[in-house]
């Protein structure tokens, strides 16, 4: 179980619904481990700044997390968490292992544009 303050994705159906209904989505798929927790923390921190992005997490060991684990963009990934970014339902960027806030914001800015705070 992920005990973060992010909204959790609990099924493949919910994952599909979220990426269909939201233009910009960032999902961190991991465990409560040392490499994952800092990424959840960064996402919680950025939620207020990037109002144009939906931030969520999904438990890596959940059977339905295959939608992220087996994504072609995550092929070759061997480090948790798998962090994926969707634009209009399409996976546009994926990273493996721990990331810094600068790395995350660089991706958000590039893929989704500058933060919309209003």
């Amino acid at each position: 179980m992920l005990y973060t303050n992010l909204k959790h994705i609990e099924s493949a159906e919910e994952h599909q619904k979220i990426i269909n209904e939201n233009e910009n989505v960032m999902i961190c798929c991991g465990r409560m481990g040392p490499m994952c927790i800092p990424v959840y923390g960064i996402m919680e921190e950025l939620e207020d700044t990037y109002k144009n992005v939906k931030f969520l997490d999904m438990e890596f060991d959940h059977p339905d997390a295959h939608v992220i684990r087996n994504a072609p963009e995550c092929n070759g990934f061997m480090g948790l968490p798998f962090t994926v970014y969707y634009k209009n339902g399409k996976l546009v960027k994926a990273t493996s292992s721990i990331q810094t806030i600068d790395q995350v914001t660089a991706i958000l800015d590039k893929e989704f544009g500058a933060p919309v705070t209003a």
């Binding site: 465990r31 481990g33 490499m35 960064i42 921190e45 480090g79 948790l80 493996s96």
Partner: protein, 316 residues
């Protein structure tokens, strides 16, 4: 520009403990933290030796400390980046990369440390694609594969043993001819049939495009280099203090650790330090908490003295 009584730089156990004590002493306190609150404490899966708590995850303990500090009125800003720091004057000034500027009467430095990297070609590119710094996180990706563990301390040997649950073979690469670990850890590693040892050797490069395929190993005795097939490399070579932003400010030793006295005071008046970034022998959550407490008490004394003096000068 926002004014605080005390600014704490770092939100690990030392910084959060300082925040609790300072806020409880009714000092307007701000913790500025470059990462997630809790520092390296959140990286610990289970803590079983913290007095008064039988078993707890580092994440949970960090959250309790953060909540305590906030309930006493401490402000906390996480994932910030320090751009400038002025510590020498009576008014200390911290500038952040987002343009915020904060001032205070005293500062407590608790920036902690981070895992040391090898800093060789391919390491950054292949992180998460075969290179890992966490056996419990990524060990199961390497089931039935041959991997390498780098390091010779307790962490390296204990994690190498734990990785044999997944890997078919673990090769330990270590730069010296002996280990720095405790005897029981060395004996356990040496008696494990899945582990072999490449002593007096260092990795000089990581090879692979989509994922790690091999490493370049240099034999320090002969100077010869060879390519060694490995799909995974776990690096456990200790920690470095996060003090590079303090160069030319407080006095530090050759390892970049801050030198403090018994009151956790640094070489600059009104600046204190605690936790993993100070020069010391033992690094535990409990020692960081104790040092954070001492630093907070000393900073409280200092701050009230300054405030009282300024009030007195104003009256005169």
């Amino acid at each position: 520009m926002e004014k605080y009584d005390v600014i704490v730089l770092g939100g690990g156990p030392a910084g959060l403990s300082a925040g609790i004590y300072l806020s409880r002493a009714r000092l307007k306190t701000l913790i500025l933290n470059e990462g997630t609150a809790g520092g390296q404490m959140v990286l610990t899966h289970e803590i079983a030796n913290y007095p008064g708590v039988e078993k707890i995850s580092g994440y949970q303990l960090a959250n309790i400390m953060r909540k305590q500090a906030k309930e006493f009125g401490c402000d906390i800003r996480n994932n910030i980046s320090v751009k400038g720091i002025e510590l020498t004057g009576e008014e200390k000034k911290i500038s952040l990369s987002d343009g915020s500027v904060y001032t205070s009467y005293s500062v407590i430095l608790t920036p902690g440390g981070r895992p040391r990297t090898l800093n060789v070609p391919g390491e950054t590119e292949l992180k998460g694609r075969g290179i890992s710094y966490c056996a419990t996180c990524d060990g199961d990706f390497f089931s039935g594969r041959e991997i390498v563990v780098v390091g010779g301390g307790n962490s390296a040997l204990e994690e190498a043993v734990s990785l044999t649950r997944y890997a078919s073979k673990v090769s330990i690469v270590h730069q010296f001819d002996h280990f720095q670990a405790f005897n029981h850890a060395i004996e356990e590693a040496r008696s494990n049939p899945k582990i072999d040892f490449r002593m007096e050797s260092v990795i000089t490069a990581f090879n692979g495009s989509e994922k790690l395929e091999s490493v370049e190993i240099k034999d320090l005795k002969t100077g010869g280099k060879y390519r060694f097939a490995a799909e995974g490399v776990f690096i456990f070579i200790g920690y470095v203090p996060n003090t590079s932003f303090l160069v030319n400010t407080v006095k530090m030793n050759d390892y970049g650790e801050i030198i403090v006295n018994n009151d956790m005071a640094t070489s600059i008046n009104g600046v204190f330090a605690a936790g993993d970034s100070i020069a010391k022998k033992y690094r535990q959550i409990s020692t960081a908490v104790g040092e954070g407490t001492i630093a907070a008490l000393a900073a409280t004394d200092f701050t009230y003295q300054v405030k009282n003096r300024m009030k007195h000068e104003l009256i005169l």
